[in-house]
Subunit: 196 residues, 2 copies
């Protein structure tokens, strides 16, 4: 899903915002000098799934920014009043027309720079019938060796795939966190796409 | 931490908000008719810990609304640019002056009505020196039988304590989700406090 809010300037160009500490608070918030609105910004939750059909992993080629044309697992922002598991299933449906059963929590990652918490599940497809939704150019069921490793959209997609592989044969396991020292930011060399 | 935003009306009384579907979107958002600001609201992340010192569990009696005077585990909203684990440790420090090491993810709960995702850890205190922070009336290290079960602040605190007990002796386990059929809302009979 596209980034819509909250990790810096408020969304849209409207409003007349200044950064100040509101009364009774301990940290600066964006306050609109026109209408007095306080823009409380909190980290956002991304929910996603490493989905398999037998030995194959469902991958989606992004049709939207950021990272159009790069590959990811089905994942996106949790919506209001949605459970995390419902959100993960909705994203698989929206991005790959996929019907998935979740079996365990694979990982909880944080990307602090953009205030993103990612909750990633391990799941199995109910059928191999998948197709690109509006946010995907292409979807595919790929073996490990077929995954386009040089064209992965985000570091956390690498993490999720590799963590998935580590526990593939395990029925029960504790969730992974970020790999040691990793923040989830792409390195400059990885930014090959125009406009990125 | 107090509730500050985002699960209905925008925070504060400023702004002139109407609910409408912005261009290119698929669901209604609050838009300010005065300045054009779009109030994107996303679920918020609560991070918390069931912390122990030997056989005793750290509990905090709330000094703030909602549920002032009721007991909880140290937990609160994740802040911007903070990892989930750092957030959980910060909350233990703020609410109970406690220094905690996290050892595993106990549970991931969702309370859909208020769009809250709760990530709860299991942790151990580095010392039994705990004291109430500004948001706690009192803190205590309690045995299971000493926990004031009738005065627990929220259903998810019950869940976390009981889930903790189930895995207390296990080194490694998958995280729990909401108990079957539970949404995290308090039942009317549980609402005994004036103003709640």
């Amino acid at each position: 899903m596209p980034s819509k809010t909250g990790t810096g300037d408020p969304p849209g160009s409207a409003g007349n915002f200044a950064l100040r500490i509101p009364d009774g608070e301990d940290r600066p918030r964006l306050v609109c000098d026109t209408c007095g609105f306080i823009n409380y910004v909190n980290p956002r939750v991304v929910v996603g799934t490493v989905c398999t059909w037998r030995e194959r992993i469902l991958m989606c080629r992004r049709a939207i920014e950021p990272r159009t044309g790069f590959w990811t697992i089905p994942a996106g922002y949790l919506e209001e009043k949605e459970t995390v598991m419902d959100g993960a299933k909705r994203e698989a449906r929206e991005e790959a027309c996929a019907d998935v059963d979740l079996d365990s929590v694979l990982s909880i990652y944080t990307v602090p720079r953009i205030s993103q918490v990612q909750i990633i599940y391990r799941g199995t497809l109910r059928s191999p019938d998948v197709a690109p939704g509006p946010e995907s150019q292409e979807v595919a069921l790929l073996t490990w060796d077929e995954i386009p490793w040089d064209d992965i959209a985000f570091p956390s997609v690498h993490w999720a795939l590799n963590h998935f592989r580590e526990v593939r044969e395990l029925r029960s396991f504790p969730p992974f966190a970020n790999p040691e020292g990793e923040t989830g930011d792409r390195r400059p060399g990885e930014t090959r796409h125009p406009g990125q």
